[in-house]
Amino acid sequence: MVRLHFIKPGLWTTVQDNGRIGYQNFGVPVGGVMDKKAAQQANQLVGNSLETPILEITMLGPQIIFQGDCQIAITGADLSPTLNKQPISNYETIHVSSNSVLAFGQLRQGCRTYLAVRGQWKIKPWLGSCSAMPFGDKTATPQSLIQKDSFIDVQTLPLIAPQRTALEDRPVFKKIVKIALMAGPEWNYLTLRQVAHLFSTTYKIHKDSNRMGYRLDPSLPNFEFSSPLISSGIVPGTVQVTNEGQLIILLLDAQTMGGYPRIGNITQDAINNLAQAKPGDSIRFEFKEDK
């Protein structure tokens, strides 16, 4: 058994897995890792199944003392990780001996870092998932929202031979993130001029952006819709437009219902890439056909 003791929690550190699928009829957000690709790569590097929980770390890393030996892997954003003050690399299996301290430093690129630990995580799931429920009743997933002096226990497994992710499979962080957008249910609410705006504007990610959704600036020009919509379902990746014309890309922790026009949906790859863009970063939409 290895115990992770969080000396510092970091800015927003949560336990995530593939989310809480099948309870959306009760209004439960899907949840789960924001950058699925990076999370899967981390679990693969330590020989875990892809369903194994993982830590999602946002922009400012935690500080963790490991009580027990284990193998870990770090993927996604480069947060200058160190083990006992020695720099370590992302995208490879790393052996951690008992009483080591894992810390993070400057955010070099990306937004979300994933930390996989080899073994079975002793986290109590809620509705089939260990993903943190950050709102509503927080007692649903008390172990999954990391705070100062939180603990996570992982039942360790026999060591595997260390691995590395091939260079070509690692992310390339771009200054302007390209987001593939498909037409959504209310696509025809847009005028030609607004469509032109959508695909010719470099949008900035607003500071009020998180796992629920990313808000974009500037707003669509002259957006007005005639009659309010009757509330209807929302899925992760839905792009909606508010009454003021602001675009919001709804993400994994978004609510399941909305009343704004859903003009588009972004692809799973686009969600992965967007998860590595932070407030202040820039994105551009590219049109993607349905098929």
Binding site: I21, G22, Y23, Q24, N25, F26, G27, V28, P29, V30, W126, L127, M133, F135, G136, D137, T139, A140, M182, A183, G184, P185, L229, I230, S231, S232, G233, I234, V235, G237, T238, Q255, T256, M257, R262, N265, I266, T267, Q268, D290
Partner: protein, 235 residues
């Protein structure tokens, strides 16, 4: 007449005539229940709403077009789904001023006094049209036109759990403490969302709900009676 729309790479949206009414919602519920019992490989979840049904699927297991054809077939095929009984729930609400945080705003907007507002709210049979906004938050309709209210222009930062509110032609119950814009006219002692219970959600889509008025004393008695796992709230 159903309309099918692609809703991103992993969902199909089914839409009915866009109005809030029991007959349209009945059609949504019928298809929702048919899809649920059919257990279609690749279907991951469903979100029934007033006049739409969102069906999430795994594109590695079923293609959009194949799913669309299955759903259209299910819609046409007669199944004895209509026999599923509607649950009748009676929910006590204390409308006294300590809980009815926005009653003055509601009185001003509706130009009705508190007694009339309570009388209308407790004499209407509501339907749970959908759950959303927060886990376990029921959208109950249709609110009589006399009680129609606008949401707050600036949301309250913290509305206490179990608060009963109005918004447009809807009424709803906050399942947990949350920010929100609904105008609060009372509070129920019933726990409507308990993540630690085997079944965390009191309300299901399609339930029939009536409210009845209780005093502060009755509210307190009821609160002390409820154990965390008590979820048999039919009166």
């Amino acid at each position: 007449m159903l309309i099918f729309k692609p809703f991103g790479p992993q969902a199909l949206l089914v839409e009915w005539e866009q109005r809030i009414a029991l007959d349209v919602h009945g059609a949504v519920m019928e298809l929702y229940q048919k899809v649920a019992i059919q257990n279609i490989v690749g279907v991951l979840y469903q979100i029934p709403a007033y006049c739409s049904l969102t069906i999430g699927f795994n594109p590695e297991l079923i293609a959009y077009q194949a799913l669309l054809e299955q759903i259209a077939y299910l819609d046409r095929f007669p199944l004895a789904i209509g026999n599923i009984p509607t649950r009748q729930l009676s929910i006590p609400v204390c409308y006294e001023s300590s809980f009815a945080l926005d009653m003055p705003l509601v009185e001003a907007q509706t130009k009705l006094d508190r007694a009339t507002i309570v009388r209308i709210h407790t004499s209407t049979a509501f339907r749970v049209y959908m759950l959303g906004f927060l886990p376990g938050f029921p959208y109950l309709g249709v609110l009589p036109e006399e009680l129609k209210c606008d949401r707050r222009s600036t949301p309250s930062l913290k509305i206490p759990a179990q608060s009963v509110g109005l918004a447009g032609l809807q009424t709803g119950i906050y399942p947990s403490d949350a920010p929100g814009g609904w105008l609060i006219i009372g509070r129920t002692p019933f726990v409507t969302f308990n993540p630690n219970a085997d079944d965390p959600f009191l309300f299901k889509v399609g339930d029939s709900v009536r409210f009845y008025s209780i005093s502060v004393e009755e509210f307190e008695q009821e609160t002390s009676k409820i154990s965390p796992s008590a979820f048999n709230n039919s009166k």
